[in-house]
């Protein structure tokens, strides 16, 4: 379980502090698929980086199972939007990286990487280098690599943002399948409302300059396992329109 208590973050600007968000409260339940949607610049990436341990909050606390998060840990694995797969290693070497660096013996490494490569659907591509793969395939290597350390939490920062629409949808389905077979807590950031509704158990809305208390959260009612066809469901479309409208309202109220 991840808990954010009165979390604030501000940039040290030249003329003083520039607040990004203030006093956010949030609880993500264990093994829940939790999505945060928001427009660019609302600070959702920064929030995720704080949970990962890459940034320190200006004030407030983040805890993981009750323990304050002080830094990075393989238990909270991060998947970035940009390409983070190591170009000088093969698919298999990339997936095994976390295991190798932590001293896991070769037999177990091989077995684990084979299992994960199969899980993300890349069997047969183990010996290829990232330069020989498509963007979608590299993203799958990234995910397999993050999963190799058996993290309790998966933090995903717009991981499919750089992909084309078809690959994106395919990976959404893949990710759901992987998560349903190996449940873990997922905190997923995106600006794509449809993506958040398809993937998440709950979706939080983060407007720009969020301040004070809990974010607005929507419960996603669709039963699992979920099929792509729910995107055509009238209820799905209604929720999607409602969320987009909500953002419009935030924008207008900011402008006024």
């Amino acid at each position: 379980m991840i808990e954010l208590k009165r979390l604030s973050f501000a940039y040290q600007g030249r003329n003083g502090l520039l607040p990004v968000f203030e006093d956010i409260d949030l609880v993500v339940e264990t093994n829940e698929f939790f999505c945060i949607i928001g427009p660019s610049g609302c600070g959702k990436s920064t929030l995720l980086k704080i949970v990962a341990g890459f940034e320190k909050p200006s004030s407030g606390v983040v805890t993981h199972n009750g323990v304050k998060i002080k830094g990075i840990s393989p238990k909270r694995a991060m998947v970035f939007q940009d390409d983070a797969v190591f170009p000088w290693l093969t698919v298999q070497q990339n997936v095994e990286y976390g295991l190798k660096v932590r001293g896991i013996p070769i037999e177990r490494r091989r077995a684990e990487s084979r299992r994960l490569i199969d899980l993300v659907g890349l069997t047969g591509f183990e010996a290829l280098y990232p330069k020989q793969l498509s963007g979608g395939m590299r993203k799958r290597v990234d995910i397999a690599r993050a999963l190799a350390n058996q993290p309790q939490v998966l933090l995903m920062d717009e991981p499919f943002g750089a992909l084309d629409a078809m690959t994106k949808e395919m990976l959404q389905v893949e990710l759901t399948r992987i998560w349903e077979s190996e449940p873990k807590t997922v905190l997923f950031i995106t600006h794509d409302v449809e993506e958040a509704l398809f993937l998440g158990d709950r979706v939080a809305i983060m407007p720009p300059h969020s301040s004070g208390g809990t974010l607005e959260i929507v419960e996603v009612p669709f039963k699992r396992p979920r099929d792509v066809s729910i995107k055509e469901d009238p209820e799905f479309q209604r929720m999607r329109r409602q969320l987009i409208l909500r953002f419009e309202q935030f924008r207008k109220s900011k402008a006024s």
């Binding site: 393989p74 991060m78 190591f86 000088w88 990286y97 993050a146």
Partner: protein, 260 residues
Amino acid sequence: MRVDYRKSAILGGALILIWSSVTLLTDWIAPIFLPSPLDLYHAFLSMKGRLIPAALASLGITLGGFGIGLVAGIGLGLLMAYSRFFLEAVGPILEFTRPIPVFALIPLFLLWFGVGIVPQILLVALGVAVILGVSTYEAVRNIPPIYIRAAANLGADKSAIFRTVVVPYIIPHIVGAVRVAAAASWGLDVASEFMGAQVGLGYNMIVQQIYLNTSGIIVLLIIYSLLAISLDRLIQLIEARLTHWTYRSELSFDGIGAAH
């Protein structure tokens, strides 16, 4: 990029033809300035016995210095990137002394070490280390932070990150400096041989110059060039093997730009 060698082959052939005809068939140019192909051949025959030991001596100095300088320079660059303490202690001193032209140290080296192979190798090593040190340090500083973050997130500590991320990443980024350093090491070898040597191709060039034997000088130059080109090709081959994973652009600039 596919290069059409025919054009330069034709140009080169034409130049050789002009040179041969002018020097062999006319007396427009004195042999002391431009010998004929025949003169070069005779010079080669008369020096034949001495060429191999001379080439080996120069090769030994150059490659020895290059190897030592490579290890020292890259090691220094990595150390400065890894340890802030080291960087702050040693960095400014290196910055201050770096602009000193290495060639200017030759008289000092001669006084310290006398005439011989040791000062020559040291000179080459120093020149190479200076080039590689800066290049390595800059390459490390320019690593995309995302790789460092990902490695750290996956459980790597600082020394593991250096071993498994920094070193593999910088190899293609220091290749340019390695080739420049290789070329520089030949130059340093020649300079050190001019100043105080008893063996080597450069030393022999001075001897030939004293005897006003232009053909001999040119033959030695050709051999020198062949050695330098071979080393450069070797570096390129090794580079290709070590960097096959990079996203190298196959772009050639032909045909790019607005059409009329």
